[in-house]
């Protein structure tokens, strides 16, 4: 089980590194929002999977599931709010 946890964690770390590189490579803040969604969904899912592999069904792994499920709508809402704020700031929408 430890090797499965290690594999899932290494994929998660690679995902986060890939997202961070993409975050700094993408030129506009609107494009960078896509990277945040990627981290929220894929990184959070892999962290949750590793939690279940490491802990089994426990209160901690269930809290990880709740965190991931809460992050999905909150991240979507905040991405919309951020994009709107940037549009308003640049004078494209009033």
């Amino acid at each position: 089980m430890t090797s499965a946890v290690a594999i899932v964690l290494s994929v998660m770390v690679l995902t986060v590194w890939l997202a961070s590189i993409a975050f700094f490579r993408l030129p506009t803040p609107f494009q960078r929002i896509h990277v945040i969604t990627f981290v929220n969904i894929v990184g959070g899912a892999l962290a949750m999977l590793a939690a279940f592999l490491g802990d089994g069904v426990s209160s901690r792994s269930l809290k990880c599931t709740f965190i991931w499920l809460a992050t999905l709508p909150i991240g979507a809402l905040l991405s919309h709010v951020t994009g709107r704020a940037l549009h308003v700031r640049e004078g494209e929408r009033r």
């Binding site: 430890t2 946890v5 290690a6 964690l9 290494s10 998660m12 770390v13 986060v16 590194w17 997202a19 961070s20 975050f23 700094f24 803040p29 960078r32 929002i33 990277v35 945040i36 981290v39 929220n40 990184g43 959070g44 962290a47 590793a50 939690a51 490491g54 802990d55 426990s58 209160s59 901690r60 809290k63 990880c64 709740f66 965190i67 809460a70 992050t71 909150i74 991240g75 809402l77 905040l78 991405s79 709010v81 951020t82 709107r84 704020a85 940037l86 308003v88 700031r89 640049e90």
Partner: protein
């Protein structure tokens, strides 16, 4: 069991530090996005640290950050939209 979690926590530090620096030092239009990215990485980091140090109760920190992200970023977005 603790070792892979600790290594993962150490490997997650550079992206978190880089995005935190980006949130502090880039132009205003990039900062809000960088704050969001840093918050997402912080949540993952706190989950991993909870397992790395084998403190089951510290998962509540990650849960708190995940829930407080909503009002915090909404407030920042409002400031960026109107006053900054």
């Amino acid at each position: 069991m603790t070792d892979p979690w600790l290594i993962a926590a150490l490997a997650l530090w550079p992206p978190l530090v880089l995005t935190a620096i980006a949130a502090a030092r880039t132009t205003v239009r990039y900062r809000l996005v960088a704050v969001q990215m840093a918050t997402s990485l912080t949540i993952i980091m706190l989950i991993v640290l909870s397992f790395a140090f084998d403190q089951a109760s510290s998962i509540d920190l990650a849960l708190t950050v995940a829930l407080l992200t909503l009002p915090g970023t909404l407030l920042l977005a409002l400031f960026e939209e109107r006053w900054l």
